[in-house]
């Protein structure tokens, strides 16, 4: 059975290859720093389970230290030029899309197979099924692409390293924030925040409570970068005690719309790195390092209107059904 551990080894080996190629790349602007950074990430992927809590903590400290010493450069390995690419695109035709399409097809097919067929259950592990299937899809697409395109041996790792460098530090942020959420939960930050909010604003009507809960979800998500981290905090603080228990709102409606109000916050914050910073890096936006980058600017009007809509919907629906 293929489990998360196999996927970790595969990712670890890939990132290790990136680190080794960076070490050999004399033209890399921040060669030592990037080698150390990706080397440590590879160690975490390959041996993380053996390091223990404190060992991993020290590893993260080292990663933070490397990131804090200065900007991380982007590798420029030899690749094809613009004219060459147009020429090749004409020659290869629309078949170029096929390997890229293998990935989602296998990811979805694998997930469904693992849920509904015995052979799928036997093949793919039960935790994080979609991610394992996605990894499998990448592997199949990779071999298909190599067999068809016959690139130079080092090309896949070099091209992958080019893209990984353009994502840079942001690649680690989601993992860091999820870990921060775990620390917050263990230290009961939620209880403290809840008391602070209710002591400052007198939430005396259902509408005020709904506004405080929805806006609180959005704001706390902006700070945490993750609506999942904000949800237990704000719902324990305002959603359950006030909107549900005091004013009689339906818990399913309050929670469903409250979570979606949090998603409006996700659209507005660079802390939600995998949604807002990674794409800005991937798409080479010129303002990718700004807090309010082009992706967030494009989302902001929709997010603001949707926060308002969620408040209206919760107020209109929660006390009626």
């Amino acid at each position: 059975m293929i489990t998360l551990d196999h996927a970790y080894v595969l990712v670890g080996l890939m990132i290790l290859a990136f680190a080794v190629l960076t070490a050999l790349d004399r033209s890399h602007p921040t060669r030592v720093r990037n080698t150390l950074f990706w080397g440590l990430v590879a160690v975490s992927m390959l041996f993380g389970a053996k390091l223990g809590g404190l060992g991993n903590g020290v590893l993260v400290l080292a990663l933070v230290a490397i990131g804090a010493t200065g900007k991380m450069g982007v590798a420029k390995p030899a690749t094809t030029g613009p004219e060459e690419r147009v020429e090749r695109a004409e020659r290869r035709g629309n078949a170029l899309f096929l390997p890229a399409l293998i990935i989602p097809v296998v990811a979805v097919g694998g997930t469904l197979a693992a849920k509904y067929t015995d052979a799928g259950k036997w093949l793919i592990g039960p935790t994080q099924t979609t991610l394992i299937a996605l990894g499998l899809g990448c592997l199949i697409a990779f071999f298909a692409a190599v067999a068809w395109l016959r690139p130079p041996v080092s090309a896949p790792a070099q091209e992958g390293r080019r893209l990984m460098d353009s994502i840079g530090w942001a690649a680690l942020l989601p993992q860091m924030l999820a870990s921060l959420g775990a620390v917050f939960l263990a230290s009961d930050v939620g209880g403290v925040v809840g008391q602070a909010v209710t002591s400052v604003i007198p939430l005396t009507t259902p509408l005020l409570a709904v506004i405080a809960y929805c806006v609180g979800m959005a704001l706390f998500t902006i700070v945490m970068g993750n609506a999942f981290a904000a949800f237990p905090v704000m719902t324990a603080a305002i959603g359950l005690p006030l909107v549900v228990h005091q004013f009689g709102g339906d818990p399913a409606i309050v929670c469903a719309i409250g979570m979606l109000a949090g998603f409006c916050g996700t659209l507005l914050t660079p802390m939600a790195a995998n949604f807002n910073v990674v794409p800005a890096n991937l798409l080479d936006l010129p303002d990718r390092n700004a807090a309010f980058n082009g992706v967030i600017r494009a989302q902001a009007p929709t997010a603001a209107v949707m926060l308002l809509v969620n408040i209206v919907l919760m107020y209109a629906l929660a006390f009626r059904f």
Binding site: L61, A252, M259, F263, L283, L317
Partner: protein, 213 residues
């Protein structure tokens, strides 16, 4: 990271610990953080797409995406992204969240296609227009995902809600929760859809203004 350590140490300060106790609180927090960091390694599995996408880009994947859309007469950036919004929201609502995404769909396909459509529509486009289109392509993927996925009953956020309420002594069905995500999903489609509908006009008038300046 700093925030995590501060939180851990502050918790000890509130509890009234001495210097040795504070050190221990810091170390404990670091270990707690490290364990959570290790448990959350699965975020990195997505990066396995990078070598494949890099290889295909080397062979002209983005250029091909632009050519393909350039041939479609009715294609404009706004209309193309509107179609992608429909597909992204619908497939997410069915639980097929990995059909989209930035490394595997937006960078190699959706953004180049939208750029190609704008070039088809307006001829040469400025860098500013190009980056605006890319930003909007990424935004459309996010919005389609966020306001589609909660309709699916087995998605993480629904599981979190049901689990949280159960701990608080309230029993709700996952299906009942996901049902109430539908009004917001429809509203999100209308709001972002209208913005995309006018997106071509916005781009054109921005191009005119840019030309005069």
């Amino acid at each position: 990271m700093v925030a995590a350590l501060v939180t851990g140490v502050l918790a000890a300060v509130v509890a009234g610990a001495d210097a040795a106790g504070l050190w221990r609180a810091g170390v404990d927090t670091l270990a707690l953080f490290g364990k959570a960091f290790n448990d959350n390694r699965y975020f990195h599995i997505t990066w396995l797409v990078l070598p494949v996408i890099g290889l295909l880009e080397r062979e002209g994947l983005q250029e091909r995406a632009r050519m393909l859309i350039g041939k479609v007469r009715a294609a404009t950036a706004g209309r193309l992204l509107l179609v992608y919004l429909v597909l992204r929201q619908a497939t997410s609502a069915l639980g097929l969240t990995s059909l989209g995404g930035h490394p595997q769909m937006v960078r190699p396909l959706v953004a180049p296609m939208a750029e190609g459509a704008a070039e088809k529509d307006q001829g040469e486009i400025s860098d500013e227009t190009r980056f605006r289109i890319r930003g909007m392509a990424a935004a459309t993927d996010n919005i389609g995902l966020f306001f589609g996925e909660d309709i699916f009953i087995a998605i993480g956020s629904i599981v979190l809600i049901v689990g949280f309420l159960e701990q608080a002594g309230i029993k709700v069905e996952a299906l009942h929760v996901s049902l109430w995500a539908i009004p917001t999903a429809i509203a999100a489609f209308i709001v972002h859809g209208v913005r995309l509908w006018f997106f071509d006009r916005t781009l054109r008038s921005a191009a005119v203004k840019g030309g005069e300046a």
